[in-house]
C-alpha cells in the first residue's frame, strides 16, 4: 500500500512536469538556406510508360519500363515556382506474330518488331503548393521541348528506320518527399502525360503516353 502511494505521488509529480516541458528557446532563428536562397535541385528518375490513344491502337500498346530521365532545376527564392531542364530516354517495343502485309502490289509475310526510341530534351516549370519548409512538396508541371525520335520497324531481321526531331510537350503532377526536414535528399514521385507531334507510317496522330516515375533528388545552394 505504501509502495502504491509513493508511486502515485511520483507520477503525479512527474506528469505535470513533463507536460509543462517546453522547447528550448532558439538561439538562432534564421530560416533554412533552402528558403533563403534560390537553390539547385537535381533529380534522377526511372519511368514506367503506358502508350495512349491512336499510338497505342495503331502501333505499340505495350507498356515500357526501360525509361529514365535526369533533370536539374532552379528553385526560386520567395516564389512557389521552379524552372529547369530535363533530358530522358524512353523506349517502346512490340512484337507481332507472323502476319501477311500488303505492300503495294507485293505480299510480305514476316514477324514484325515495332520499336520507338525517344530522347526528349525539355524545359519545364513547376508550381509548388506548399512552402519549401514542408517535408512533402506537391507540384504541378508543364514542360515543352523537342524529342529526338528513332522509329525502327523490323520485318524479321530486315529493318526500316525513320528518324526525326519533333516538338513535344508534357503536363505532370507530382510530389517531392524529403527524408528529413531541411534535408538535401529526397524522393520524387510524378505522373506525367507526354505528347510528341510525330507522324510516320503506322503512327498517324502523334505519340502519346502517360508516364509514372519515381526518382531521387538532391538539392544544394
Amino acid at each position: 500500500m505504501k509502495k502504491i502511494i509513493i508511486a502515485a505521488l511520483f507520477l503525479a509529480g512527474f506528469f505535470p512536469a513533463y507536460a509543462q516541458q517546453q522547447e528550448a528557446p532558439k538561439l538562432y532563428t534564421l530560416p533554412s538556406p533552402f528558403e533563403r536562397y534560390t537553390h539547385y535541385l537535381a533529380t534522377a528518375r526511372v519511368v514506367g510508360a503506358v502508350p495512349l490513344g491512336s499510338f497505342a491502337d495503331s502501333y505499340i500498346d505495350k507498356s515500357s519500363f526501360r525509361n529514365a530521365s535526369i533533370s536539374i532545376e532552379w528553385v526560386l527564392r520567395n516564389s512557389p515556382f521552379s524552372i529547369g531542364g530535363e533530358i530522358g530516354s524512353t523506349y517502346f517495343q512490340k512484337r507481332i506474330p507472323r502476319t501477311l502485309y500488303q505492300n503495294g502490289e507485293g505480299t510480305i509475310s514476316a514477324v514484325q518488331t515495332r520499336t520507338l526510341s525517344q530522347y526528349p530534351v525539355e524545359l519545364f516549370g513547376n508550381y509548388h503548393f506548399l512552402p519549401k519548409t514542408s517535408l512533402i512538396q506537391p507540384y504541378v508541371q508543364v514542360s515543352g521541348g523537342i524529342s529526338i525520335l528513332d522509329n525502327v520497324l523490323y520485318y524479321g531481321t530486315l529493318s526500316s528506320q525513320h528518324q526525326k526531331i519533333a516538338p513535344k510537350y508534357g503536363i505532370g503532377l507530382g510530389s517531392k518527399f524529403l527524408f528529413k526536414k531541411d534535408g538535401a535528399v529526397g524522393v520524387d514521385v510524378r505522373v506525367k502525360y507526354d505528347g510528341t507531334a510525330y507522324k510516320h507510317d503506322y503512327i498517324e496522330k502523334g505519340v502519346s503516353s502517360v508516364n509514372g516515375s519515381i526518382g531521387l533528388f538532391y538539392r544544394w545552394w
Binding site: 530522358g88 505480299t107 529526338i148 528518324q163 526525326k164 526531331i165 538532391y218 544544394w220
Partner: protein
C-alpha cells in the same frame, strides 16, 4: 557540395546509357524469315499447264554470277517442283516447250554504309534538292552483306517478241537468318507458295 551532385548526375547518366537494346536478338530462326512475293496482276494463271525449272541455282554475288548445285540447292529445286505439281502444273523437260519457266537465284549484295548519326536524316530531309552528301574520309564506315533467295516464274507462253523478254509473272524473295540452312527449305518454299493462292490452277 557541387562535387557530390556531379557524382550523383554521373551515376544517373551511366544508368541511362546502359539501357542498350537489340530488339530482334530474341527472334528464332524461323521467325527471322521474311517472305516477299509479287505477281503480275494481269496474268491469268489458268492458261499455263506445264512448267520446267533450271537444273542448278544461279549464284549472284555483287553482280558476278555463276551456278551451283549444293545439297540445299537440290532441296530447294525439288521442293519447288513438288509445290508446283500440287498446284496443278505438269513438270516437263526444258526442251518440251513449257508454258512457264522457273529460275532460282541466290543473291548476295555487299553494301558500304556510313555510320548513321541520329541527326542525319533530319537534316537530310531539309537539305534535299537532289544533292548527295560528301562525307569526309575520316568518318566511320561499315560493310554489310545480305543474301537472299529469289525465285522467279517466267511466262514462256507469251514472250514479248518486240524487245525479246520473258515477262516475270511471279517472284518470291526469302530473306532472313536461316536461309542457308537445309532444315528450313520446306518451310521457306511452302510459305512463298502458300501466300500466293492465285497460282493454283487445279
Amino acid at each position: 557540395m557541387f562535387k557530390k551532385a556531379s557524382i550523383f548526375l554521373l551515376i544517373a547518366g551511366l544508368g541511362m546509357a546502359s539501357c542498350s537494346k537489340d530488339p530482334i536478338n530474341d527472334l528464332s530462326t524461323e521467325e527471322s524469315l521474311v517472305y516477299i512475293t509479287n505477281h503480275d496482276k494481269a496474268a491469268n494463271f489458268k492458261q499455263y499447264k506445264t512448267f520446267s525449272i533450271v537444273d542448278s541455282v544461279v549464284v549472284v554475288e555483287n553482280n558476278q554470277s555463276g551456278t551451283a548445285l549444293t545439297d540445299i540447292d537440290k532441296d530447294v529445286l525439288t521442293r519447288i517442283i513438288t509445290k508446283m505439281q500440287a498446284l496443278g502444273y505438269t513438270y516437263v523437260s526444258p526442251k518440251a516447250k513449257p508454258d512457264v519457266g522457273i529460275n532460282v537465284t541466290w543473291i548476295t549484295n555487299t553494301y558500304l554504309n556510313v555510320v548513321s548519326q541520329p541527326l542525319n536524316s533530319y537534316y537530310g530531309g531539309y537539305w534535299g534538292g537532289g544533292f548527295g552528301y560528301g562525307y569526309p574520309n575520316y568518318y566511320s564506315y561499315y560493310e554489310t552483306a545480305e543474301s537472299y533467295w529469289l525465285i522467279t516464274l517466267l511466262d514462256f507462253k507469251n514472250p514479248n517478241t518486240v524487245d525479246k523478254t520473258f515477262n516475270v509473272i511471279w517472284d518470291a524473295q526469302v530473306r532472313g537468318a536461316g536461309i542457308g540452312n537445309r532444315q528450313y527449305v520446306d518451310t521457306m518454299i511452302d510459305s512463298v507458295f502458300g501466300q500466293s493462292e492465285y497460282l493454283k490452277i487445279n
